[in-house]
């Protein structure tokens, strides 16, 4: 993959800053989720990397598969953007849930309804909204921007991971990909992919560079 513009390089400093921003955002999200669902949520940031189009499709299908082994997944996409700033940060979140995850969610939320595709859709759309916004809001707060979110929509319900992303739909060459993993001792599990490409990516790096630079000088 060639990165044509040096300002889009994922330097160690940028990766470090993003990792820290997400750690803090995840910490806050986890705590509010845990109290909302009365359980302990395990969070980990798995990957921060630049990927090209081909790689993303392949990775998504491979990494979309969750443990315990589950071939069928349901995935939801949701866009985020700065409503008041058209040249601000924007991107896409894709939440991937393993088969039957929604049943554990229903249990955690004390929802007593019969299992159905409809129930899965409702619960996963809601969960995606919660997971995405709690994570992204945490990042946005630290960067001092305000984010809005589009309504979440199903990418695929009970499909194989490799069918998730329609290759033709992706119009960009490369993007920043952040993969966050949520899990819980009772079996709930979600892989959340946060994707950002140019020009929003340049804006994100501008903000993270500034955050670190403002602290330069006497500090180690």
């Amino acid at each position: 993959m060639t990165i044509k513009d040096i300002s889009l390089e994922l330097t160690e400093d940028r990766r470090d800053t993003l990792q820290e921003l997400i750690n803090v955002a995840m910490g806050r999200a986890g705590a509010s989720l845990a109290s909302h669902m009365e359980t302990f949520i395990d969070l980990s940031v798995l990957v921060i990397s630049m990927v090209n189009r081909d790689q993303l499709s392949a990775d998504m299908s491979e990494e979309a598969t969750l443990e315990p082994s589950s071939e069928l997944v349901s995935a939801i996409r949701q866009g985020f953007y700065e409503g008041s700033n058209p040249t601000g940060i924007r991107g896409e979140a894709i939440a991937v849930f393993g088969e039957g995850c929604y049943l554990r969610l229903a249990e955690l939320l004390h929802i007593e309804k019969a299992p159905s595709d409809q129930l899965e859709r409702e619960l996963l759309l809601e969960a995606t909204n919660t997971l995405t916004s709690s994570c992204m809001n945490g990042i946005a707060d630290q960067l001092e921007v305000d984010l809005d979110y589009s309504a979440p929509s199903m990418l695929g319900q009970q499909v194989y991971g490799y069918n998730l992303l329609d290759f033709d739909e992706i119009s960009w060459d490369f993007c920043l990909r952040i993969q966050v993993h949520y899990s819980e001792s009772g079996g709930f599990m979600c892989n959340l992919f946060l994707l950002m490409t140019n020009p929003a990516l340049a804006q994100l790096f501008t903000l993270t560079d500034k955050l670190l630079e403002d602290l330069e000088g006497d500090y180690q």
């Binding site: 470090d16 750690n23 803090v24 910490g27 602290l215 330069e216 500090y219 180690q220």
Partner: protein, 124 residues
């Protein structure tokens, strides 16, 4: 006599943010460590009378550092600074002997209040 302060975190951003949060009037000497192993080495060199400790670090994490300090009976005051603010995390670190637990990003006023509470304001 300046107090030796050790900031332990694998993130440079976090180390800088914390350092900036320390009261300006303080008479201190600040050192940093990027993981638990470096932290223990610095503590043994006398650089950590007061330690600000992150939890998630490679090589040796915050919990392991607390356990080692307790086991070796080192005279060190530890304040945990972490992004993981779940109740269970707080309980674990307090049980391991941490003085206090504050969440990231560090609130300067809260930090000042906690240090004040434990008698740590030292004016040069």
């Amino acid at each position: 006599m300046p107090i030796s302060v050790l900031i332990v975190d694998d993130s440079r951003l976090a180390r800088r943010q914390l350092q900036r949060s320390l009261p300006k009037e303080w008479d201190i000497e600040v050192s940093t460590a990027a993981d638990g192993v470096e932290a223990m080495a610095a503590i043994h060199e006398g650089k950590g009378e007061l330690v600000f400790l992150d939890l998630t670090m490679p090589e040796m994490d915050g919990y392991q550092v607390l356990a080692a300090i307790k086991e070796q009976k080192l005279e060190v005051t530890v304040i945990v600074v972490s992004a993981d603010v779940q109740v269970e995390a707080r309980q674990r670190v307090m049980a391991l002997g941490a003085l206090e637990f504050i969440k990231k990003p560090v609130d300067i006023e809260k930090l000042g209040a906690i240090l004040n509470q434990f008698g740590f304001i030292v004016l040069a």
